[in-house]
């Protein structure tokens, strides 16, 4: 469903992605792990067309999206949950769901609010006034309401309290049960391994390891070398 083929991406003068390849099949949850600064977020931005790759190819379904514009990529069916949440501060929750709602899939604003009851109770609150956890829920909700075929989540647990992380985990588990495809970029190893079918590990702009969660758990060397745990 998503096929990243040897992409190279520059950020200004910095050579960030130095040949990244990654495959994601429909219905899979793929975890992308790695330390800070190895290029995970740049990979997400390259997929979304915000920092396009200068070499290589990204296919989504049978469409080449390597150099497509960001809004077209989103409309093709990738729901982006950016790092740091980046909610629209001057929009309230209802407006968030309004501006990104798209398609005739299962996710209507109403269904989304069933999934995130916290958001329903604060529907008229400006996003800038929400707590970090609520903003993260909102970032996920506004991506889902576009009825994406693939959800791209960039460090959704970052800066969240343990209780909110559990909430988020439940949401991801229920999405996975519903057959969703998710590319989950994470620093929190245990969180990612709980939901992933396949794990990719990134280091210095390259994919250095591919395995199943069980294999990674049984491999202290790899964990120590690339993840520092």
């Amino acid at each position: 469903m998503l096929s990243i083929q040897d992409i190279h991406t520059y950020y200004g003068d910095s050579y960030i992605l130095q040949g990244v390849s990654l495959e994601l099949q429909p219905g899979q949850v793929v975890a992308l792990l790695g330390r800070n600064g190895v290029g995970k977020t740049t990979l997400a931005r390259s997929i979304m067309g915000l920092t396009p790759a200068s070499r290589g190819r990204i296919l989504f379904g049978d469409q080449d999206i390597t150099r497509a514009s960001a809004h077209r990529i989103a409309r093709l069916g990738i729901g982006y949950v950016p790092q740091g949440r980046q909610v629209f501060r001057s929009l309230n929750i209802r407006e968030h769901l309004q501006v990104t709602a798209r398609g005739n899939g299962q996710w209507t604003p109403d269904k989304i609010l069933d999934l995130f009851p916290n958001l329903r109770s604060r529907i008229k609150s400006l996003a800038g006034k929400l707590s970090g956890g609520e903003q993260q829920m909102l970032a996920a909700a506004r991506a889902l309401v576009g009825n994406p075929a693939l959800l791209l989540m960039d460090e959704p647990t970052e800066g969240l309290a343990p209780m909110m992380i559990r909430e988020l985990g439940k949401t991801i588990a229920s999405l996975k049960e519903g057959g969703a495809s998710i590319l989950l970029i994470e620093q929190q190893l245990n969180f990612a391994l709980r939901y992933a079918d396949i794990v990719f590990i990134m280091n210095k702009g390259r994919i250095v390891h591919r395995c199943t969660p069980a294999e990674l758990l049984a491999d202290p060397d790899t964990k120590a070398r690339y993840l520092g745990v």
Binding site: G49, S69, A70, H71, A74, R75, Q86, L91, E95, V99
Partner: protein, 284 residues
């Protein structure tokens, strides 16, 4: 007493024209981060085109509509074919709009000549009203009402519609708005065209009060910038309040201290900047 009332009405009606100009200026800056110096041209060209339509059709409504629409179209062309190439490059964009301001100014001179022209008032508002024993032109009162109407419509579009929410999303975080499927490029074109439309609207509607003349483009542009500096860039409320303040200051300055007319505008502006660098309603 009557002097103050009538002069205030004069200031407020001129302030409404400035609001029409400044709201577009502010909206365009808020979304696109462009300081559009061509906005003065939009105002002047709107006035000239409106006048031409009026001569041709004898209809004030058509003059307002076609004049504004023509300039909105000019805005579309300018955004699509020129500004788009310089996306987020602040200096080149500002220089481009500055250059176009001069080009349009010369073109207007070439086509319509150097003599000030007056726009006849629409039939409906040619009479004067009796206010406490003094006569006052009804057209100026109409301008005040119209300005408030436009402000209400703009507020509703911005706060109450999906496209308004999309524009605000683009203002808050353009990149993420794109990555969530909002066609921000299209919003850019629409907002720029709409801003041009509002400026031209000010040019045509202001014609019967201030006339259409070479140099009006620079004059209103300067005042428009004072309005958004006082009110705060990117704020609709700021454009309205700022427009009224500048309209009143300009009017009373000219009436009471004609030799210091510009001072009465810029001194308060400097004062507000010193206390609130982002303007009365500016963010951050």
């Amino acid at each position: 007493m009557m002097f103050w009332v009538l002069q205030s009405l004069n200031g407020i009606s001129y302030g409404m024209l400035l609001f029409l100009l400044a709201s577009g200026l502010s909206l365009i800056y808020g979304l696109m981060k462009i300081l559009n110096l061509t906005h003065g041209s939009f105002y002047l060209l709107g006035g000239y085109v409106g006048l031409a339509v009026l001569h041709l059709t004898k209809s004030f409504i058509l003059a307002v509509l076609l004049g504004s629409l023509a300039i909105a179209l000019l805005g579309v062309v300018m955004e699509r074919f020129l500004l788009r190439r310089l996306h987020l490059q602040e200096m080149p964009q500002t220089l481009l709009t500055f250059g176009l301001l001069f080009i349009f100014s010369d073109l207007a001179m070439l086509i319509w000549g150097g003599n000030p022209q007056t726009v006849p008032k629409p039939e409906l508002f040619r009479h004067s009203l009796d206010i406490g024993g003094m006569v006052y032109p009804s057209y100026r009162l109409f301008i005040i009402g119209f300005g408030l109407f436009v402000a209400a419509v703009l507020w509703w579009v911005q706060e109450g519609t999906r496209i308004g929410a999309m524009v605000r999303a683009g203002v808050d975080n353009e990149e993420i708005a794109r990555a969530l499927g909002i066609n921000v490029s299209l919003l850019f074109t629409l907002v720029f065209a709409f801003g041009a439309f509002l400026a031209a609207l000010g040019g045509v509607m202001g014609g019967p009060i201030v006339g259409v003349y070479p140099g009006a483009d620079f004059e209103v542009l300067l005042l428009g910038f004072v309005v958004v500096i006082i009110g705060g860039l990117g704020s609709l409320r700021g454009a309205l309040v700022g427009g009224l303040i500048v309209g009143l200051l300009d009017n009373f300055g000219k009436v009471l201290f004609p030799e210091f007319a510009l001072f009465t505008i810029f001194a308060p502006m400097a004062l507000i900047l010193a206390v609130r660098p982002t303007g009365l309603f500016g963010k951050e």
